[in-house]
Symmetry: C2
Subunit: 333 residues, 2 copies
């Protein structure tokens, strides 16, 4: 399966071979935007030639950066391929002369038709049907970028990533098992909270962002937001007392000491039963190349949190997807 | 005063004349990071040559992007000039061969001594002593970038910005007057809230971010966070009911329709008395060049909110600067 995926990605990237690209814009909305933060981190760490911006799709269209032109590659993502802002962003980028690549579940969607190259992925979040995580938008994004960097800048990234992706689903399945008891213990107290913050840094920030806005706020109506682990100390930490509720995502990338510091503060000044720490260092990452663990860990952490949300949903008697009151429920907002 | 300021900025930028710069990193923490979002917006709109990233200082050091090298200009800001992360970021950037410019209140501070070029500014927020807003970090940042773009890319930006800055404080003083009755009306209800979100987009996002984390959370212990006006519709809007409390900053830049949409939603599904809208279009901007109004409006909106915070502080009997429990109160967190 990974091989087939790689072939699609390879085809997409090879089609860009003749383009002189100096800037990548990673564009989406909500959950589809959240994965782009890990992509940006990966590019920052591996590319000397490509500048990169991450933008909400409508912000991108209105902002219309001067650098958006023939030298730009715009990589967009929309689950349904029907997100109005993202389709508009693809059209706008093409009009500016940029090359566009669109990731979507649906190869016949408007987004797929709006871009130069469409790359499909799979998702279990919307359907509940299990997938191989190697086919997720998160993994496909990393594959696209790894191929781009190997072909254009000579980095040796495709082989270790492809090997790692063969083991990713197993790593995630084991993460669910190893975290299960902890989540069971934390769920009752978290279910009764009104506000839950998520805290992360580096490649894991997007996972914290997605869980805060697309799960806790969107599906469970908590007050929530993602807080960057060092920004925490420049304002947000003043809300911490024994009743404050935080989820800390400890990743494996170079920013790890930032979350370690915030975690220590939270465990000291907060109540440990209100501080749920998910540390990627506790997960069995067998089969994942050392160099790719920092980039793949956030997906495992998010997947674990996704199941945690279902426990909260049961306890709160607030259904997940079906419980939304505005999204896909009312028209023309 | 503006002339003197311009001379300092001019000197700083002229010193960079020989450098081949292709990337600007805008770096700080908390409030000093928040102003960078407007700088990034300004660069996106005006520079075809300079790529730009905005990073929390410690994220920047750990992430250590490959593009941080002799072709990079790193512009840092720290009010006291003593922020550990920001000083570390300056040293790290110089070690990587980048040229560093540091903005700080204190020309003898560690940050000022760590950078190639130190540029002073003034602030009334920390001291309570009124200043000319043309000397604020926000205005100095725009001046630095305008000089850089005019000298390097031939944009005609210095003269209209300098003229505008002569009138900025008057615009802000008038904004305080014209918003006063509204803030008096909203303060009692907002003072009783537990959670207040701020919502903005484009050049105004940083103002919403600063007010949420450095004022509402840090000084008044509200649960809060800034929400991007379009991201709002991809999750966060599900928390909106008649009890939800939002501050909407309507700026004047190209993203204005994003906040207009969110504002309409909030006024429809929320309770109007819980939705405080500050619209820059309602302010008297006489003297500000049309092209610079989008970039200067967020500072006026933030300054208005700063006074609103003091009304909340009085009603909550929670002092502003003195009421913090961790920041500058405990050591070694």
């Amino acid at each position: 399966m990974t091989v087939a995926l790689n072939q699609e990605v390879q085809t997409a990237i090879s089609a860009l071979a003749g383009r002189d690209i100096s800037h990548i814009f990673l564009v989406g909305c909500g959950g589809s935007l959240s994965i782009m933060h890990a992509g940006k981190y990966f590019l920052d760490r591996h590319s000397g030639r490509l500048a990169c911006d991450v933008y909400n799709a409508d912000e991108f269209v209105c902002r219309d950066p001067i650098r958006l032109g023939p030298g730009a590659l715009v990589l967009l993502c929309s689950q349904t391929g029907a997100t109005v802002e993202t389709i508009r962003a693809a059209a706008h980028a093409r009009q500016r002369g940029a090359v566009t690549v669109g990731m979507t579940l649906d190869p016949s969607s408007p987004l797929a038709k709006s871009v130069n190259l469409a790359v499909p992925y799979e998702s279990s979040y919307a359907t509940g049907i299990p997938i191989d995580a190697a086919k997720s938008n998160y993994a496909v994004l990393l594959s696209l970028l790894a191929h781009l960097l190997e072909i254009r800048e000579g980095a040796k990234l495709i082989s270790p990533l492809s090997e790692s992706l063969k083991h990713l689903q197993t790593v995630i399945d084991q993460a669910h098992e190893s975290c299960s008891a902890k989540l069971t213990a934390y769920a009752p107290l978290f279910a009764r909270q009104r506000t839950i913050y998520t805290l992360a840094s580096g490649a894991a920030f997007g996972a914290a962002y997605a869980f805060a806005i697309c799960v806790l706020m969107e599906m469970q109506r908590y007050d929530s937001q993602a807080i960057h682990a060092d920004e925490f100390f420049h304002g947000p930490f003043e809300v911490v007392d024994k009743s404050a509720c935080f989820i800390v995502l400890d990743g494996l990338d170079e920013t790890r000491r930032l979350t370690a510091r915030a975690r220590a503060f939270l465990l000291k000044f907060g109540a440990p039963e209100n501080i749920l720490v998910l540390d990627a260092a506790d997960l069995d990452m067998t089969g994942l190349d050392e160099a790719f663990r920092p980039y793949l860990a956030p997906l495992a952490l998010f997947d674990v949190l996704w199941r945690f949300a279902y426990r909260l949903a049961d306890l709160r008697r607030q259904p997940m997807l079906e419980g939304r009151r505005y999204m896909k429920k009312i028209a023309n907002y």
